[in-house]
């Protein structure tokens, strides 16, 4: 099996994968980073969203081999160095932006991606940006609020 090397949450990792192994599978099954979730098989739910070289990517749309040499960041890499919640994570907790938590890692990664490129998004921009991430629990109201609060704090 071919081997793949990448940096995940700042740590260099190497693994053997099949050609068909998806990045999301590699993260979950090989690296045991189970914070990245699988919610569909048609690349439409966003539960698997991670950052690859600084941009949000659905981990199920990419083969692990394609991430060879890449910098990957997952939800496990989003807390502060002391383990406390990062600004976006804390905003989600403060504003009840999650219920079952299954979509949450993907939402946080997508929100971080938005705020990295747009420090002060409008509500419509937030909704548009998160349109690739399905949440079945919250009705999005509090997710939008969380992202707005995080933007205000980061701004």
């Amino acid at each position: 099996m071919p081997s793949v090397t990448m940096t995940v949450n700042g740590r260099a990792v190497t693994g053997e994968v099949e050609g068909r192994t998806l990045l999301s599978q590699f993260l979950r099954d090989d690296l045991k980073l189970t914070g990245t979730h699988i919610g569909c098989d048609t690349s439409q739910c966003g539960a698997c969203t991670v950052h690859v070289n600084g941009a949000a990517v659905k981990g199920c749309t990419m083969l692990a081999l394609e991430a060879d040499g890449a910098e990957v960041k997952t939800i496990e890499g989003m807390a502060n160095p002391d383990g406390s919640l990062g600004v976006i994570q804390a905003a989600f907790q403060e504003h009840h932006g999650l219920q079952c938590g299954f979509c949450t890692p993907g939402m946080v990664m997508a929100a971080a991606d938005l705020l990295a490129g747009n420090a002060n998004p409008t509500e419509a921009e937030i909704r548009k940006h998160l349109e690739g991430n399905i949440c079945r629990c919250t009705g999005y109201h509090n997710i939008v609020k969380s992202v707005q609060a995080a933007a205000a704090q980061l701004g």
């Binding site: 980073l33 979730h37 569909c40 048609t42 403060e94 079952c100 890692p105 690739g132 919250t138």
Partner: protein, 789 residues
């Protein structure tokens, strides 16, 4: 000042930290040493006879451990149904067998036929590719009315027809209702469809079976809302495993919405196969598999008639419903269109005569069972739609018509003609509230503004009632439930005063870990951080019935309160001993026991320590330790209600409906955690708007599932939905549970579909359009406009 702890406060949710850092422990995150993976080969036809299954090539594929077919399950029980409905002639419903793996026939697309167990999932899938399953396709029945015709293909050859039951409620009212409708000054009739939905919790189902041969013990990890129910159903009815040898664990579960209540074949398979191969067996559903194996929801076709007298008082309601059961009876399927639906047909109104007829029908589709609201959204949708239609026909204000027929606050407790007794309510209060928070007075101005932009603005109101906190066990037993519906809790006080509460309720997003401690903290006066909630593991908690039907706090919370009351009663005895006072003089507040009228006190932690280090302790009268269990069986359902208002804009050029605003004024009785309640309502509204405008599970006439993935089944996304204005300040506390709570989980999904459709119809009323079926997609709305032009 809002409270910062205890009942009524909104502390940050403690479970969020693990979910936000990727440390949640969902079932798919669990991997057993030496585990194998199963891939199910499922039927790709809706109906067929299995001629032959040839596994020989597949067995030689790399990594294959064993291949199972229906033949391996001969002599094993089928997947049971948990509710038996009696039809209107006094006969039991027709109840077909439901094998774990298909035996002889397949009955819906997705019916599992063969299970391939291999070292890896990929190997299992590769082996499945070379399997040969020879099936002769048979004509399928998809449409319910077609399925009931003479000569229709039968889903189950051994049943007399595709009719599961023909239920009448209240049967004795039938003639009186017919008579009232015949003689009424006005009758409004509406035919509608409550669209088939797929619950779609974001976490797909997962099951991991383990078997420990040394002790003959099984463990099943599963994405369930009720692990004890699974243990009971699977252990007793399918596999014959006694409870003490079977542990069922539901760890973090990524949403349920009803569809994770039921016992599924895959759970039984993994448990069974784990013993057969003496290795753990893991199944993770793909989303495509979920669409064809998770129980679906709704799918009712209804005709409702509302009779009014010359003064617009409601006289009678008559409904005729066809309810799709799918190919087999899922766990609670028969109860949904009957006892969870017919009993709610009085709504918030004083209608004296009601008759509900329901024909439950087998079709070659995925089984249909409870989905958020289960039966109550179907009831509410019919009623609130037909009332709106009546108001339009009579030229009266729909709010005024509702108000005129409301049960008034002084009429509670109110016995409806459909066998339930509402304990409390104040429907005018929630209606007043919605007029205020939705600024109904400003609607005409907003409508004029929309018109300037070429848009049609509509306002829709609905006022729902639901029955939650299911339910008194003796009552549901009479109605056909094959289970009790109490809840349990153990309050275990540790020596230094911290507390673990073992609850039979299960949290899959509802925030029990945060809200339940608020109640105990309030009762004892200690900090919430001293209290932990344990749930979701039959090895750790007393026999509990789990979470569905908005029952966790009303039933599970009540059990917890009862157990805590017992703990406090005992702790007071210990305190009395330590303080050398009479037990009746002991008071507990702020974590201190005091002797009334004195300054003598002892701290909570000193009393709990004495219970476990009983040096100075009344051992002759009292056992050491401080741990109590309570089982709470509710005396009645609870009856949350509320007023919902939706405003939409319709683009007449494209038919697209945009929800401009949505407001909800609910009466949930007392509230423990307002933040969580808001969130529950938001989520329910989103699902209701989804049902009304976007979601539709569709089969073609051959039984192929046309909406089998997120490409075809339209899940509501962030840019489809508005912000919501929610209020729960109208509170008539439940009179029969100790917390006065009613439950809030389903309300949003019950009240919102009629509000949305009433708004769409209002927007289209100038065209003379009086109804549009859900989902009101652009295509449907556009076609309706064209047809009306």
């Amino acid at each position: 000042m809002p409270k910062d702890h205890g009942i009524g406060a909104s502390p940050k949710r403690r479970e969020d930290v693990r979910f936000l850092t990727g440390n949640g422990k969902y079932t798919d995150d669990i991997n057993a040493p030496n585990q194998t993976y199963v891939y199910f080969v499922r039927s790709d036809v809706a109906h067929g006879t299995i001629n032959k299954i040839d596994t020989s090539d597949a067995e030689k594929m790399p990594g294959v451990v064993r291949i199972f077919t229906g033949a391996d399950f001969e002599g094993v029980g089928g997947v049971p149904c948990g509710w038996q409905v009696t039809d209107r002639f006094g006969e039991p419903m027709q109840e077909p067998a439901h094998p774990v793996l298909a035996q002889g026939k397949v009955r819906h697309v997705g019916d599992p036929i063969v299970a391939v167990v291999a070292e890896t999932l990929e190997q299992a899938r590769d082996a499945a590719e070379v399997l040969e399953v020879d099936i002769t396709e048979l004509p399928a029945v998809i449409d319910m009315k077609e399925a009931l015709k003479e000569g229709a293909p039968k889903v189950h050859d051994d049943l007399t027809s595709n009719l599961c039951y023909d239920w009448g409620f209240v049967e004795e009212n039938r003639e009186a209702v017919d008579e009232a409708i015949k003689n009424a000054a006005h009758v409004t009739t509406l035919e509608l469809r409550n669209n088939r939905l797929v619950a779609n919790p974001m976490e797909p189902r997962v099951a991991i079976g383990e078997y420990d041969a040394s002790n003959d013990e099984y463990t099943l990890y599963t994405t369930s809302q009720n692990p004890h129910v699974i243990r009971l159903l699977m252990g007793a009815f399918v596999l014959g495993i006694p409870e003490h040898k079977l542990r069922v664990v539901s760890p973090d579960v990524g949403g349920g919405f009803g569809t994770k209540i039921f016992h599924y074949a895959e759970e039984a398979f993994c448990t069974f196969a784990a013993k057969a191969i003496n290795r753990p067996v893991k199944w993770t559903s793909s989303r495509s598999e979920a669409f064809m194996s998770d129980a679906h929801g709704r799918d009712h076709v209804t005709k409702i008639e509302l009779a009014l007298d010359k003064d617009n008082n409601f006289l009678a309601v008559r409904t005729d419903t066809y309810a799709n059961m799918g190919a087999y009876l899922s766990t609670f399927a028969p109860s949904v269109p009957t006892w969870l639906h017919g009993t709610l047909m009085a709504g918030n109104y004083t209608t004296p005569l009601i008759y509900v007829n329901v024909k439950a029908v087998f079709t070659n589709t995925v089984p249909v069972d409870a989905y958020r609201g289960a039966g109550r959204p179907e009831a509410s949708f019919q009623l609130e739609r037909v009332i709106d239609k009546a108001a339009r026909e009579l030229g009266v204000d729909p709010i005024a018509l509702r108000r005129q027929n409301f049960i008034k606050p002084d009429q509670f407790p109110y016995a409806t003609p459909v066998a339930v007794e509402y304990d409390t309510g104040n429907y005018d209060a929630t209606m007043d509230k919605i007029e205020e928070i939705a600024d109904l007075a400003g609607f005409e101005a907003r409508k004029a503004e929309s018109a300037k932009n070429g848009k049609l603005r509509g306002l829709g109101i609905a006022h729902y009632i639901e029955a939650c906190g299911i339910a008194p066990s003796n009552l549901v037993g009479q109605l056909g439930a094959r289970a009790g519906l109490y809840e349990s809790a153990t309050v275990r006080v540790n020596a230094t005063g911290s507390i673990s509460v073992m609850t039979g309720s299960h949290s899959h997003g509802q925030g029990h870990e945060t809200a339940f401690p608020q109640v105990i903290a309030e009762m004892i006066g200690i900090d919430e951080s001293q209290i932990d909630i344990v749930h979701g593991d039959t090895a750790k908690i007393p026999m509990g019935m789990g979470t569905y039907g908005s029952r966790s706090l009303a039933v599970g919370g009540s059990a917890m309160v009862k157990a805590a009351e017992k703990v406090i009663a005992k702790a007071k005895k210990i305190a009395a001993h330590l303080l050398e006072a009479g037990e009746d003089d002991i008071e507990l507040a702020n974590g201190e026991f005091t002797v009334a009228g004195t300054d003598k006190s002892v701290a909570w932690g000193d009393v709990t320590l004495a219970a476990y280090v009983p040096h100075n302790y009344p051992l002759e009268d009292l056992e050491p330790g401080l741990e109590e269990t309570a089982f709470y069986d509710p005396a009645n359902f609870t009856y949350p209600s509320g007023a919902y208002a939706c405003e939409v804009e319709v683009d007449p050029e494209t038919g697209k409906v945009e929800v401009c605003s949505f407001a909800a004024a609910d009466d949930f009785g007392n509230i423990i955690n307002p933040m969580i309640v808001d969130g529950q309502v938001h989520g329910g509204i989103a699902q209701g708007i989804g049902q009304a405008l976007l979601e539709n599970c569709v089969y073609d006439s051959d039984g192929q599932l046309l909406s089998g993935s997120y490409m075809d089944y339209t899940m509501p996304r962030a840019d489809d939905l508005p912000n919501y204005t929610v209020d729960h300040s109208c509170q008539t506390p439940c009179t029969h549970n100790p917390l006065g709570v009613k439950g809030c989980g389903e309300a949003g999904a019950i009240g919102s579909p009629p509000a949305v459709i009433n708004a769409v119809v209002d927007a289209l009323s100038d065209y003379g359009i009086t109804h549009i079926d859900m989902p009101a997609t652009p295509a449907r709305v556009w076609e309706a406009i064209q047809a009306a032009k």
